[in-house]
Symmetry: C3
């Protein structure tokens, strides 16, 4: 039974949804030692989110961003506007999508479906580099 | 300390939300051995979701489906339309609801509230059979 | 390797989003013993949710409540209305936000970002006291 924990500082991403599966896998080679387990990916921010979605067609993250902008529009009459028009809408999206994803691990790999990838959804135009905390627990 | 992992191929469900608590429990009798632990239920698809909601009144899953169809409508101007009108809306709902639920386990049972059940929300008219990965970890 | 599980009966909260980080931390002093681990916080109800969001400006939970009321309005034509106008909208919000959050633990503390707090989002005007189940697993 083993625990591994690793911080990851992602590169800067533009507002929108981006596949980061590779960043996660490369940061935690210890996944290769785990026979059965769970990988928890956590983002330490409140205006960016993690999600799992389609990894094949670049139109999917693009459409997801457009849909989110329609569900939680920047121009809603928020009170919290001091950090800019995309800040409070970003907090709403962060609660809708969530700050972590948990993925099963088996025989040294994440057990994602064929079309699944891990998304960073950056809700701000100038969000900067985002920090993840990866926690892996399993039978080695 | 024990780990159990089990794949479950659900029956085909129509578009909408469906209670699948029984399918989960029956697939993993090892829950009965766990004194304290967590059960992670993961869906390996990006146009169907897992959620926890009311297990009593059949109007709740029906209304939830109607509400989701209003929040992420099929006729939004998506670019990703090649797989049909309910595909991209399904991806949006998958990110809103999420691809996994985690439930505490105590004394051999999931510690759900009285009115809680596990939902499969099928976002496609012809989604086919969906695959889950159950991962159980706990003190036996 | 250790498991801890603790029920918490929260005080009664008004409809809206409320920071409950302190309630969680105080209920589980065993966090202090964990070197690497995960804390799972689960709510046993279907018209209240858990989320992680900004812990600094009281306008954020206020705006989040307003945004949620706009995304899942009380006056949508639901069939499930027997428990009042805020019940079915509460179930929709419960599926959108989710019934649990999982937070990494390191060196005896939750590894939340500087601005992150745990939110209880109470979706009902008279929701009463809500019950959480905290499950902590880690290397001690």
């Amino acid at each position: 039974m083993s625990w591994f924990q690793q911080e990851v500082l992602l590169p800067r991403f533009s507002r929108g949804c981006h596949i980061i599966t590779r960043h996660v896998v490369e940061a935690l080679p210890e996944i290769g030692q785990v026979r059965i387990g769970l990988l928890h990916v956590f983002i330490q921010h409140t205006s960016a989110s993690l999600s799992i979605n389609e990894n094949a067609d670049a139109d999917v993250p693009h459409d997801l961003e457009k849909a989110l902008a329609s569900i939680a529009p920047d121009d809603f009459p928020y009170q919290h506007t001091i950090e800019g028009a995309d800040d409070m809408s970003g907090h709403v999206k962060a609660s809708l999508l969530g700050s972590s994803v948990t993925v099963p691990v088996r025989d040294g790999r994440m057990v994602l479906g064929t079309w699944q990838g891990i998304y960073l959804c950056e809700h701000r135009r100038q969000g900067g580099r985002r920090r993840l905390v990866l926690t892996l627990n399993g039978e080695t």
